[in-house]
């Protein structure tokens, strides 16, 4: 199986705090991989490094065989740096793309706290996300010379919304939808950018067990239908254990375990991280 995303020794340090320390992981094509860990373990920070929101202090991230993000401690960070592998990438090139460039490469994401476009209805939310793949320039777009492309975008939006069972609510304000549907809309919006890799940041947050069940089958379904690879952060263990092929466990910024759900479940370090260790008195 092909490596789609690969993180090598990624470290993210804010001032003196090392939020992610020497994280190396990979996601293969057509996999569902989960990134779990207690609160504050650095999962979302890792996500933000992959999507270009943060510039990692050290390390390298490759997508589809090509290096897309690379950095090494320099300037003030060279002195402050407290992570591992300080010397590894020194003198190497620095690549720090903005989030929109990452999205163009085919990596889409959702957010932990839903971030829909508040003033727009359901249809426009998805249609707006199609903009990234539009080829029309400003001129042809304003003068409607690209009406064909516009129509294609509208048709694609319609198709996507129908597939996601959101077509009936297309005219409703995005933020007036029930919580579960807002999540679903956010995923649909991410799909509209036509990604190969979908990053889900706590997709089941705030959902009841039944909704979580539905979400699990939903994620599997979109993975099959759009040929996606999924990397997700999640706290609901039943969801994680149910659908992921592999799991990475973070604690205090460092990777403490990886493997299949069964392997991770029986890993003593993971149990310690979640439940705490009894101190020897």
């Amino acid at each position: 199986m092909k490596n789609l995303l690969e993180l090598e020794h990624v470290t993210m340090q804010f001032g003196g705090v090392v939020a992610v320390n020497d994280l190396s992981m990979h996601v293969d094509e057509n996999e569902i991989v989960a990134l779990i860990g207690p609160n504050g373990a650095g999962k979302t920070t890792a996500f933000n490094c992959i999507t270009g929101v943060y510039e990692p202090s050290n390390g390298k991230i490759s997508y589809d065989g090509k290096c897309i993000i690379a950095n090494h401690p320099s300037g003030k960070m060279a002195k402050l740096y407290a992570g591992k592998e300080h010397e590894m990438y020194l003198g190497g090139k620095v690549l720090a793309p903005t989030p929109d460039e990452i999205t163009k490469l085919g990596i889409a994401r959702t957010f932990q706290n839903i971030r829909l476009f508040k003033s727009m209805n359901v249809f426009d939310n998805v249609l707006t996300a199609m903009h990234v793949r539009a080829k029309a320039n400003l001129f042809s777009s304003v003068f409607r010379l690209s009406w064909k492309e516009e129509k294609e975008m509208r048709d694609a939006t319609e198709k996507l919304l129908k597939e996601q069972n959101l077509w009936e609510m297309r005219a409703e304000e995005a933020t007036s939808l029930p919580y579960g549907l807002q999540r679903r809309l956010e995923i649909a919006r991410a799909l509209a950018t036509r990604p190969k890799l979908l990053l889900l940041d706590e997709p089941a947050a705030g959902m009841n067990p039944q909704e979580t069940q539905e979400l699990a089958s939903f994620i599997k379904e979109i993975k099959e239908r759009y040929g996606l690879t999924v990397l997700m952060i999640e706290h609901h263990m039943d969801l994680v254990m149910n659908i992921s092929d592999r799991i990475y466990v973070l604690d205090f910024g460092s990777l403490i375990a990886e493997g299949t759900p069964e392997e991770v479940q029986s890993n003593q370090r993971v149990i310690d991280a979640y439940l705490g260790v009894a101190e020897n008195v």
Binding site: D100, F117, V132, L138, V142, R144, E150, A190, T193
Partner: protein, 370 residues
């Protein structure tokens, strides 16, 4: 659904055409010095600049206060380009300087150039300034407008800008002719056509794929970026386009006023426009247009009596004297901002669909009463 939409669109076009027809008829029948024309012309010019500001503030979520500066650039570009060559060579306008621009262009070319010059400056300023957020952006653009005003009065630039002196004798509203002839063009209609075309372009932009990207940035920058929208590129785009139209409206203002002086483009002008945008509704094109006509009608016409001694038939020269109008006006504005903070239209547009809806509701309410 589609058919209804198309019908509404056709109705809108008919309504707009009617407005233009009325303007044309008024121009044929009324005295050319009538106050109605002042209100209509200035209202149309302010509509355009308010719409351009709304594109930035209301649709892209960038709080910029540079509008007066870009209008000044437009007004000067237009005036300098259309002062006839023989006037430039005589000392009627450039009394203390030798004009550097030794040619003149037609109205159309000068209008476009006015927009382009403003857009070019916006592009340059946007490079550093658009990396700032909210208040800081407002401060930076406000500062730019003031600096531009000061620079244009600098006498080193005199050969270009005529220093702090007036520019006049350019092709103002009374000197516009039909193309390739000497027949005068109806001036109010001219202002309406130019402003109308520009506003139409803005409407087309807002409803295009790029317009949706602008709105996405306004709603949530982080999400917009994650959806592949390059923040800087789109902000710059919006800023440049907004300034382009501000430049054109500056040129129109120059035509309307017959003279141009940098002094006129004070910060107060930007605040007036901001006020119109807020009163009309942030994020509503039709709101901006309605509000600018209302604002101009109030300040230039309906409240005039408050300064002149007689208002609504009450004759009280002791109370209604010069300056009282401004006081009343401020109170009205305060009431609007305090109690109707969403403005006339909110972020909705006026449309036949909505009007039908409104009428239906009213009828229903009446039916319930009976």
């Amino acid at each position: 659904m589609e058919k209804e939409k198309r019908n509404n669109l056709i109705m809108t076009f008919i309504a707009i055409a009617l407005v233009y027809l009325v303007v044309f008829i008024l121009e044929l029948t009324l005295r050319p010095t009538s106050i109605v024309f002042t209100v209509l012309r200035k209202g149309a010019i302010y509509s355009l600049v308010a719409v351009s500001m709304n594109l930035l503030n209301g649709f892209t979520g960038l709080f910029s206060l540079g509008q007066a500066g870009f209008m000044l650039l437009g007004a000067y570009t237009y005036a300098i380009l259309t002062i006839p060559t023989e006037v430039k060579q005589s000392d009627r306008v450039y009394r203390y300087y030798d004009a550097v621009i030794n040619f003149d262009t037609g109205v159309f070319v000068a209008l476009i150039a006015a927009g382009l010059v403003a857009a070019f400056f916006a592009f340059l300023i946007g490079l550093p300034v658009l990396r700032l957020k909210s208040d800081y952006l407002a401060i930076a653009t406000l500062g730019f407008a003031e600096i531009i005003r000061a620079i244009f009065q600098w006498d080193v630039l005199g050969p270009l800008t005529n220093g702090a002196n007036l520019l006049r004798e350019f092709k103002d509203l009374s000197r516009i002719t039909l193309p390739f002839s000497d027949i005068p063009f109806p001036p109010t209609l001219f202002v309406f056509i130019v402003a109308g075309v520009c506003i139409l372009l803005v409407v087309l932009l807002i409803n295009s794929s790029y317009g949706r990207a602008f709105k996405a940035i306004r709603d949530d920058e982080v999400a917009a970026e994650a959806m592949g929208i390059n923040l800087f590129k789109h902000k710059e785009m919006s800023f440049v386009i907004s300034s382009f139209f501000a430049g054109i409206s500056g040129a129109l203002l120059a035509m309307f006023q017959y003279t141009v002086q940098a002094q006129q483009f004070r910060t107060m002008l930007t605040y007036e426009i901001l006020l119109i945008v807020v009163i009309g509704g942030i994020g509503s094109i039709s709101g901006s247009c309605i509000a600018s006509f209302l604002y101009i009608a109030l300040s230039e016409w309906w409240l005039r009596g408050l300064d002149m001694g007689t208002f609504l038939g009450i004759n009280a020269p002791e109370l209604f004297r010069s300056g009282f109008r401004r006081l009343v006006f401020s109170v009205i504005i305060m009431i609007i901002v305090l109690f109707f903070s969403k403005g006339i239209m909110g972020d909705k547009e006026i449309s036949f669909e909505r009007m039908k809806h409104l009428f239906r509701k009213k009828r229903k309410a009446k039916g319930a009463d009976a």
